[in-house]
Symmetry: C2
Subunit: 215 residues, 2 copies
């Protein structure tokens, strides 16, 4: 039943955006609004559930796409992840906006969201880590000490094997991935770029170069 509620809520999300009406989804279920409170303690709780689902769906799409590619073809894996993220975002723009748009103020992301939220970058880190030994060297990325310390801490927290400069480039790529996607999904590329898919690929290939993935 919670599943059904989330399903129709997702449908409403696609048209109404973040201002989702409990009474409207209740009507679609031939149910009175207060009945929803058996399953979700509040509207925010429903939205949070949708957010978690969205993170997990996105991560699943990216993971599946990557697993379909030969493990030693690093660039293909890289592109597969990026393209899967884009495909999911374009197919589910409202849910994408929910998780990568502006958060409602006060709203603190529950702890349940941080693990699925980090899946994508972990995929990218994994690809680069698999390439250790055959990565191109990184030119000109002098890191200031505080920044280097942050990167070191991130690496140690997960027993990573990358150098600070390398993780830095993966973060650059990760940032850029969602930067391009925000622009495309939120319409900032309208009347500007027609060749969207090629534009996106071009950016992500440049990021692969920056991260030092071998050709």
């Amino acid at each position: 039943m919670s599943q059904e509620i989330k399903a129709v809520a997702r449908r409403h999300l696609a048209t109404d955006g973040a201002n989702l009406s409990l009474r409207a989804v209740a009507r679609d279920l031939d149910i009175v609004a207060s009945a929803l409170y058996r399953y979700f303690p509040s509207r925010d709780a429903l939205l949070t559930a949708l957010i978690i689902d969205a993170y997990e769906a996105l991560a699943a799409a990216a993971t599946e796409a990557e697993s379909a590619v030969p493990r030693d073809d690093l660039r293909a894996r890289w592109l597969a992840v990026c393209r899967a993220v884009r495909a999911w975002a374009l197919a589910n723009p409202a849910e994408y906006g929910l998780i990568y748009g502006a958060p409602v103020p006060d709203y603190a992301a529950p702890q349940d969201t941080v693990e699925p939220a980090s899946k994508v970058i972990l995929l990218l880190v994994g690809i680069v880590t698999d390439g250790l030994g055959r990565l191109n060297s990184i030119k000109a990325s002098p890191l200031t000490m505080p920044l280097r310390a942050d990167l070191r801490r991130l690496i140690d927290e997960r027993q990573g094997e990358l150098l600070e400069e390398r993780l830095d480039r993966v973060l650059v790529a990760w940032t850029h991935l969602f930067g391009v996607l925000n622009f495309e999904v939120f319409g900032r590329l309208d009347d500007m770029i027609e060749a969207r898919a090629e534009y996106f690929d071009h950016h992500m290939i440049l990021m692969a170069d920056l991260a030092g993935l071998p050709k």
Copy 2:
């Protein structure tokens, strides 16, 4: 009077986010809600006015910061623009979210917003254009034909003087600027990067390198 309304609406925006209550701002003005309709035909119209103001404030901050730097110091101008955008975003996170967060569905950006919205990238283009003749060459940015055509069109529309590859890199930088900023303002860097200012500078310097700005 419209100014006062927008002023208190901006204050509410900071705490309530995009779900802004007309009745609440009316209360703050010791006014009844319906009186607001003398000045704005709807809530959306008020929000649109705030959006336009936000774009213009952001553009003004960036422009002013850049104009305070010697014109031949391209990297300083570049960094001044980027830092001014960041400073404004951090000082006005709600308004930033309004213009660079997820747009409400249906809501079509009025034509009044496109001109101020493009100010920032035009500043960046201007800086690079001023450097023509002393820019570093761009390595490895093979452009597919459709993408090259898009870039060509953008250049011609404004009688620009850049090559497609060069504009491409400015677009990369522009995308990245707001990519990092979204992550920082929307809290995605929490528990990840402490040295925020250095992180940001580091990214934008890398983008300056990519765009070929001379040292």
